[in-house]
């Protein structure tokens, strides 16, 4: 995005706003906080404080990274909410349907949901506690009462399974 260009910001919001809100809500578990994360994410893009570096991946990943970091920071600054989150099941939150924008491929959505569903529970748990819970592998091992090496192996195996299914769908074609 050209920093400071309102139409570009609006375009990004139209494409990724829903996804970022969904991610933020999944992490912080509170619509008000999720809204705060959503606003903050786009205002950081606007201000150029979190500059986009193409070498580190594509735009959605960049935006998700900003949103996730902000949400995890909020989560960690509110211990009572962290406890609340730990008591919830790891499945997706009940929700009202969102307007799905054209760029969010339904095929990819189904593939991601399916690939996660196909993972053995231990592997999915390792991924979800790290990504949505913001836990380190050491913390996950402690929480689940498993050796750290087991958590590392589960994470790697899970990521390999996801890569086998999803990478062919998202692999940049040609010059990108």
């Amino acid at each position: 995005m050209q920093v400071g260009k309102e139409s570009a910001l609006e375009g990004l919001y139209a494409r990724y706003g829903g996804l970022i809100f969904t991610l933020a809500l999944r992490i912080v578990g509170d619509p008000e906080l999720a809204r705060e994360v959503l606003q903050d994410t786009f205002l950081r893009c606007w201000g150029g404080r979190d500059a986009y570096d193409p070498a580190r991946g594509r735009v959605p990943g960049w935006l998700m990274g900003i949103a996730r970091n902000r949400a995890i920071d909020l989560l960690r600054s509110r211990p009572h909410q962290a406890r609340l989150r730990e008591q919830e099941p790891l499945a997706g939150l009940a929700s009202e349907p969102a307007q799905r924008d054209a760029t969010d491929s339904l095929t990819l959505r189904r593939a991601v949901a399916g690939a996660l569903q196909e993972l053995p529970i231990g592997q999915r748990q390792a991924i979800e506690l790290a990504y949505y819970g913001g836990h380190t592998q050491v913390e996950i091992a402690r929480e689940l009462g498993e050796p750290l090496g087991t958590i590392k192996s589960r994470t790697r195996e899970a990521m390999e399974r996801l890569r086998a299914v999803l990478w062919p769908l998202i692999e940049p074609k040609g010059g990108g």
Binding site: E6, G17, G61, R76, G134, G149
Partner: protein, 246 residues
Amino acid sequence: MTEETVHPTEDLAGYALGALEGSEGIRVEHHVATCATCASALAQYRAIVSTLPMGLDPVAPPPEVWAAIRAEARRRRLPVGQGAGSRGRPNWRRAMWPVLTTLVASLLIWNVVLQRELTRRAPGPAPGPEVDALSRRPGRLVILAGTGQPGASARLFVAVDGGGHLAISGLTPLPRGRTYQLWFIRTGASAVTGGTFGVNARGLAWAKAGVPASLDEVRAIAVTEEPAPGSVSPTGRHLLEATTWR
């Protein structure tokens, strides 16, 4: 076998998820900087991680959020922005040129200073192309004062995209098993490490530093002495410290 030739296969996925602790993350970061195979695998893992939210049931944000973002964005409008308020645009555009000129001049000066600083302070091998390229990017300079070690100081050069490096002088060389470690101390969250480093016999070093995506929540940047290969959180006193950089 050196650290560079042992591929951290088991840790790449955890690194992509941001789930490694201090020294583990540093080890992976150092490795992928020089290993194309692992860098490629990491890029794929990162791409996979960015798709994970798509596996959630979508939830629409409240409809008024966009209006709030737009209003705040207009309030914070940058010089290069374009907005609906066309009435004041011509005057505003004229005023933009001196600002841009000053900005470009400042960046050029900053880059020259940085190049000189790197050359002057580098005690080891000359900075490679990667550091040279990094130093050409715009960014800002943070001065760390020797609060815990009088006479010591450091300069942290932070590129706008978060990359950075550290030039240090005046620290005491450490014995085996000890290391210096850079920290970003955050409010309401655990400290984040920016990397570990040693100094040469003259107390000098330059080191590549990992910098958080945003310094907004960082209330202090500090260097401590820690057990090698580094700690998960700071245990030593602040030898160097900066609390203001904006």
